[in-house]
Amino acid sequence: MADEIKILVVDDEPIVIRSCETVLKSEGYNIEGCLGGKEAILKMEQTAYDLVFTDLKMPEVDGITLIRWIKQKRPDTGIVIITGYPSQDTIKDALEIGIIDYVPKPFTPAVLLDVTKRAVEWIRERAPVEEKAKEEEFPPSMLNEIDRVISQYKNRPGSSIPVLQRCQQIVGYLPPQVQKRIAKGLNLTPAQIHSIVSFYSFFTMKPRGDHNIRICLGTACYVKRVEESLNKIKEYLKIDVGDVTEDKKFSLETVRCLGACGLAPVMVIDEETFGAVTPKKVTEIIGQYT
């Protein structure tokens, strides 16, 4: 996990770079260092970094200039400042341009690690919303439909969940692009929308198969050993819970009690409920859908 994170440390004092390297490398982060803003810009034109740690007072190109450049050219990169002069004004400037956090010099390894961890979490949370947005394309009719839903709910307080439910119905899932569109439409930040999507199990960010199979993991189904049927389905479709088969025909999910305990164990395919399933029966039923 940590080794996927690329961090650039910018400081005119080599000792700072070295100590950052020692602390963060041991945690598995990917660290590079450079001694000034100019060099940093050159490096960043070549490579995308997830995080930049930068000093503010540096010769030639100083920290604030670097941060401005990053915001413009590399908006996805998270910024943390390292400063020996944490005066209110400089911090305020930096915060206004948009940094994640700051580390006051001198710092202990614990502080550095802590800040890094939080910064990584922050970019991770943002990442799916920002990055994947470019990948997917949706037909205009779908987007129109989404906009219609948004405008219908726009001025009603607390409408984010119903809007997301309706949009998931339209698209089938809630990819970052859709979340972003909803956020904009409802005048919320993408983070707010994403926090709701990630909290409720009803929402999914992955596309589903043509047929969505849901297995109930309620107590009654558990007691009647639904696990065995679930394992059989996984084996039969060669997918895990939460995945879609290669041919995009089936997706597999688990749910917490469908309230049809009288029929336990229960499997639902799309909207149809099947009761008293067994490992043998599930493959037969799924077979009918192929």
Binding site: G158, F199, G259, A260, G262, A264
Partner: protein
């Protein structure tokens, strides 16, 4: 005027629909038309009847004959026999336990006989989509009385005197809740209904919403009058599409007919009601979390006070009642507190609906007066364990917040106070019966998986603590348990209970504590002997054939996916331990009980437990 000589009430609850109600209904309709009976006999689709396991079920009035397991193939015969020739068709009737004779009348079937219906008073008796049929059963009479003749204080007094306690789990007195909110001063108040039935194994709220949506609406109107709310929201799980549809239709028709909206039933009281679809988060059963969810946020609880009665939804005074609670309001208002108290005990008045599921013969919904012994519910109504040779082990009550009650305590009366003494809780009324083939450690693990997954993450003890406990339980069930684990689990449980903010965290360790309390020997057998007696934890058991009992029928041999069973026909078989993967197939297949479960056989190639000892710590 149309006049029918018979009404066929077919259950169209989720369970029966899944078992085939729509197809059977079509076949029945076609058959009645074919026989020229369509003018005389009316088919009515009702909500959940509660006897889900034998669905699709149908009740024939006026004779009150109960048919179950209906199939399309049997319909012509049924119509010919019963409706043409007037001979109730035995083949589709309920059979008593020994399967010897059929029981035609619904009220003679033990499952129904012991029940007293208040909450479920209209189940299977009315068409849930017809407001006229609801009105025919005294529907909206209580609302009319409350709105036109009573003051909020009058209403609250009846509910308080009745001793009605919230049926969602904690059992807080409903009248008190209403009184607090009634006394709060505000320009806007909210009356809310919790239809986010989250406890796995409980489905009474779904049933009520499907079978009798108007009873919930009427309860809310009366509650709204009592607290002075002009707006209401029913929060329903999106996983209950049929309930949502029925409620939606009921609200529409009420709005059209002046039962919702302005000046309800000619009074000066106005109340608007809408449905809000939940999005699947167990913690939203907690009232403050549910309110955050309606506000469109993450459903996380917040500290109380301030209580919702002062600052609830949108920071306005709000009351949240459970579906089952609300369904009891109307009859209580009509018949009075004394009537309500004729059933139940002093502190636990009235009836309670239980969802009886698991390894039990009669699965379904049962409504009984509180105070009757647990044993009556399980044996007389439920018919006992569903497999002849298996023994009862435990009944789980209260879902992930509850606990497991052992055989020795089955004679306790079912009341809020007595249940809590056992370490379980009344909860929303899920009763999951488990037979001797259940591993209690795995069961505790199952519930902890649930709570660890559903913890909203706000409080560290709950978020991290449940995870740590889950890891320990996983270790125990997979053979890596260590001395002292039980004590650590108990310690952790106490900490989580003491330091969590909401009910989810405060009750999450209950399944673990109660299983340790009554089934400590199972934990010890898992840890010390590497032996899961029930044969569920596959690392901790081995299967052997008792040669004296084995008849050599070959059922196990044919079923074994590993070809681990060997033996000649009619001679005792044997299991080759090196090949066995402990899948239990042979155990379930054997009709003679000749498969025995013994401690794990240590196979040379894998020694996970011993190795891990060194790595851990």
């Amino acid at each position: 005027m149309e006049k029918y000589r018979a009404n066929l009430l077919m259950c169209a609850g989720t369970g029966c629909v899944a078992s085939g109600t729509p197809k059977v209904r079509d076949a029945l309709k076609a058959e009645l038309e074919k026989r020229g009976l369509a003018e005389e006999i009316k088919i009515v689709l009702t909500g959940c009847n509660g006897f889900c396991a034998e669905g699709p079920v149908m009740l024939v009035y006026p004779e009150e004959i109960f048919y179950q397991n209906l199939t399309v193939e049997e319909i012509p015969k049924l119509v010919e026999e019963h409706f043409l020739k007037g001979r109730p068709y035995e083949k589709l009737m309920f059979k008593d336990i020994e399967k010897k004779h059929a029981i035609p009348l619904m009220n003679d079937i033990p499952f129904f006989k012991h029940q007293v219906l208040r909450v479920l008073r209209n189940k299977g008796l009315i068409d849930p989509e017809s407001i006229e049929e609801y009105i025919a059963r005294d529907g909206y009479m209580a609302a009319a009385k409350a709105l036109n003749e009573m003051t909020p204080a009058d209403i609250i007094k009846i509910i308080k005197d009745a001793g009605l306690r919230g049926r969602g789990g904690a059992g807080f007195p409903t009248g008190l809740k209403w009184e607090f909110a009634s006394k709060s001063e505000a320009d806007q108040k909210y009356m809310l209904c919790n239809g986010d039935e989250g406890d796995p194994g409980a489905f009474m709220d779904r049933s009520v919403m499907e079978a009798d949506p108007h009873s919930v609406i009427e309860g809310m109107i009366i509650g709204a009058k009592a607290i002075g709310a002009s707006k209401g929201v029913i929060y329903v799980r999106a996983e209950y599409p049929l309930a949502v549809e029925r409620l939606q239709k009921a609200i529409e028709i009420c709005t059209e007919s002046g039962i919702l909206g302005d000046n309800i039933l000619g009074s000066d009281f106005s109340f608007d009601l809408e449905i809000y679809l939940g999005a699947g988060a167990f913690v939203c059963g907690e009232e403050t979390a549910l309110m955050r969810s309606i506000e469109g946020q993450r459903g996380m609880p917040r500290p109380r006070p301030p209580f919702p009665a002062h600052k609830g939804l949108w920071d306005k005074p709000s009351v949240l009642n459970n579906v089952e609670t609300l369904a009891q309001i109307a009859p209580t208002i009509l018949n009075g507190a004394e009537w309500y108290r004729t059933l139940g005990t002093e502190k636990s008045a009235g009836t309670k609906v239980f969802a009886l599921t698991g390894d039990i013969r009669n699965v379904g919904l049962v409504e009984v007066p509180m105070g009757i012994p647990l044993r009556t519910i399980i044996y007389d109504i439920g018919g006992g364990i569903n497999k002849k040779k298996k023994k009862f082990k435990s009944v789980q009550m209260g879902g992930p917040s509850g606990g497991c009650i052992p055989e020795s305590l089955l004679d306790i009366p079912v009341t809020y106070e007595d249940i809590i003494k056992t370490g379980a809780i009344m909860g929303s009324g899920g009763m999951v019966v488990m037979d001797e083939d259940t591993c209690m450690v795995s069961t505790a693990k199952f519930f902890l998986e649930f709570t660890a997954d559903e913890s909203c993450g706000k409080c560290t003890p709950c978020r991290v603590g449940t995870r740590v406990m889950l890891d320990m339980l996983t270790d125990i069930t997979e053979g890596r348990g260590r001395e002292g684990d039980i004590e650590t689990l108990e310690d952790l449980s106490r900490d989580i209970i003491a330091t969590s903010l909401c009910g989810l965290g405060q009750t999450a360790p209950n399944p673990v504590l109660s299983t340790i309390r009554y089934f400590r020997h199972e934990y010890e057998a898992h840890i010390k002997e590497h032996w899961c007696h029930a044969g569920i934890c596959s690392n901790l058991c081995s299967f052997h054939i008792n040669e004296e009992l084995c008849k050599g029928c070959g059922a196990c041999l044919r079923g074994c996916p590993q070809q681990a069973v060997v033996g000649e026909k009619k001679k005792p078989h044997r299991i080759i331990q090196e090949l066995c993967i402990q899948c239990r197939t042979c155990y379930d297949a054997c009709k003679f009980g000749s498969i025995e479960i013994r401690p794990a056989v240590r196979k040379k190639t894998t020694e996970p437990a011993a190795k891990d000892e060194g790595v851990k710590q």
